[in-house]
Symmetry: none
Subunit: 199 residues, 4 copies
DNA sequence: CATGAATGAGTTTTCATTCAT
DNA sequence: GATGAATGAAAACTCATTCAT
């Protein structure tokens, strides 16, 4: 992807290190030195590239979101989802979402952490709202092919709420409930539910 | 329920204080002194009644869960839900759940906090699993009247996942999406979805 | 006088410790731990009794000023300066001032430090202004017995400026100039200068 | 005079930058990067031209003193003060001193800062002593025309102490006391005081 | 010469926990 | 039981200094 400045490289390394840290500890218990150690750099460096611990978090969030978004867009293009008929497009997108996002345990953990931070941090909350907006809008476009916009939005939000709930359960109830089965079950019926709701 | 020891009274006061604290700050930023102040007792006392800050949290969790459970059970009995026909029982229970739990913003905030703590704390995770077990089982009993047990469990878990997702959205997307409308919409259709899934 | 709270006792001990520290190092290089060590207490204590390092400084300033003021007032009363004739009162007060303040090397050092802090710290500056106000006013009252108020104020301020300059020199030029001789010389002539200025 | 090395030019630029910095912050809070930024050079360069932060300060002091001294000497020559009668010379020199030094607020601030540093730094103290020596000697030469050397030195030191005290007051009591009036008042009487002291 | 990345010692501050009274 | 004084480990952050390029 061409040349990036050392600053960008380092900042991303630090974001990547924070990612690994958050799989072990909550952000509040992750110290600057933890992140530095994980990144293999001196802890003073983190303050050279970021003004504060919170700045690292904010950069990290943007980085994670950008990666997910770009991953999704690349896949979306490569499968020509735009040109597919409603049923096919819906199935494909839901499948991508559940496999790559909902059931990605690292991501699920990460998002639970982010939810909590967002509770008391407006900037983080805004970023999270942006993500859900984008996600709901994207799915609403597909659903909107078979129903009116208002209902499509409503169904899209409901579907994603359900998937986020399942994502939560995949972490909290792992091994206790057949998360995958439940998701499969609903993937197969969501099309019907959507069409049912037209009436 | 008869006499309770002073210790029990104090412990509950402290749990209640923690509840109020958690509406303002995450647990990690809530200090022993914050809780003590909110409870109107000396902070040294907290270590007299509890071994550590974590013990307060664990007691608090049990207390919150017990309150919710007893509230539900009392309501359940008073409405004789056990004797109602399937449709009526389902409607009533879902209505209670959405109004008292899903859309209770204080509780929603609290649970996001608890989810996060559970990520990295096995004891908290176990308590949370117990709560979801109890909840899913309860709903599954009602749904089970119209379908087989396995499917009932699956549908119950899915419904509660959806409600937890909506609870999350009610906090994160408040004002941006018509949370209440979405929930109303689905309350009206869940019966159909359940019956549909029998086939 | 009578009973003082432990808090007051500790705060004063800390102020006293800071006093000793400032004879060795500037405030900016004096660490919280230095003060704690000098006071013989744990450094956490300093934050128990004071909100911040600056708060210690402010308390310290009030404490130093109060001590000097009370020392002066006690002496003033015990010598019945109020009832003495102009010449006697002036001589006595100047003598007290030069011996106890101007040529008190610890105090001189301390005040140079305070001057510097006051340069960039408004609260400290205000406290310092209060001290000089009180001092100038006090001397002006005595001088005012022989001249009009405006001139008395002017002469008082000039005298104290001279003494502060000598105080500075006593630290900076110790051993190089006969500070004591200069002060003696002027103590003897200030009366004449004052009277001369009436004309 | 003539060509100066790049090193010298840069060093002076850095000294000039430190001067501007010290009008905003004490030396202890002025960082190497602050100075570098003010000088418009890379902060690494400061360590190329100076061994340490303290070395910058020492160079800076010499630079300030040299500027003041050369300014004074130039003025002194241009006015042929050496050839003037006692009264005229005294008046002129005092006037120059009060206007250019005592009441120069930037310089006054700077010197308060230097006094404080000198308290705990022998090298700085030595430089300061040199300045006061030179200044006192210079004035003593003029005063000495009307009195014996010992008394002249004494009166010179006293006068400069007074001026330094007024300089302090001009910063600390600005707006609260009529500093200029006091100085005017004494400029007019110092000649009389000097002559009075002969007797 | 010039840059800015990197280091690490040192600073203030917070806070759970202990304990004497 | 209750109080609040005391401890000390650990946190975020700063900054003079070094050094590879």
């Amino acid at each position: 992807m061409g040349r990036r400045s050392l600053k960008n490289i380092r900042q991303e390394e630090i974001a990547r290190a924070l990612y690994r840290c958050l799989l072990k500890k909550p952000f509040s218990k992750t110290t600057i030195k933890d992140i530095a150690k994980e990144a293999g750099v001196n802890h003073g460096m983190l303050h050279y590239y970021f003004k504060s611990k919170e700045e690292i978090l904010l950069y990290f969030l943007d980085w994670v979101v950008a990666i997910q978004l770009s991953g999704f867009r690349q896949w979306y293009k490569s499968r020509h989802v735009d040109n597919l008929p409603f049923e096919k497009a819906l199935t494909l997108v839901l499948n991508y979402t559940t496999k790559k996002i909902t059931l990605n345990e690292d991501l699920a953990k990460l998002f639970i952490e982010i939810w909590e931070i967002a509770l008391y941090n407006k900037t983080v909350k805004k970023k999270l709202q942006y993500v859900y907006h984008a996600w709901i809008d994207q799915l609403a476009i597909i659903i909107g092919k078979e129903t009116n916009e208002k209902i499509a939005n409503l169904l899209s939000a409901a579907t994603i709420a359900f998937l986020e709930g399942m994502s939560l359960f995949s972490i909290m109830l792992r091994g206790k409930y057949p998360i995958n089965t439940i998701i499969d079950y609903f993937e197969k019926r969501i099309e019907t539910i959507i069409k049912m709701n037209i009436m």
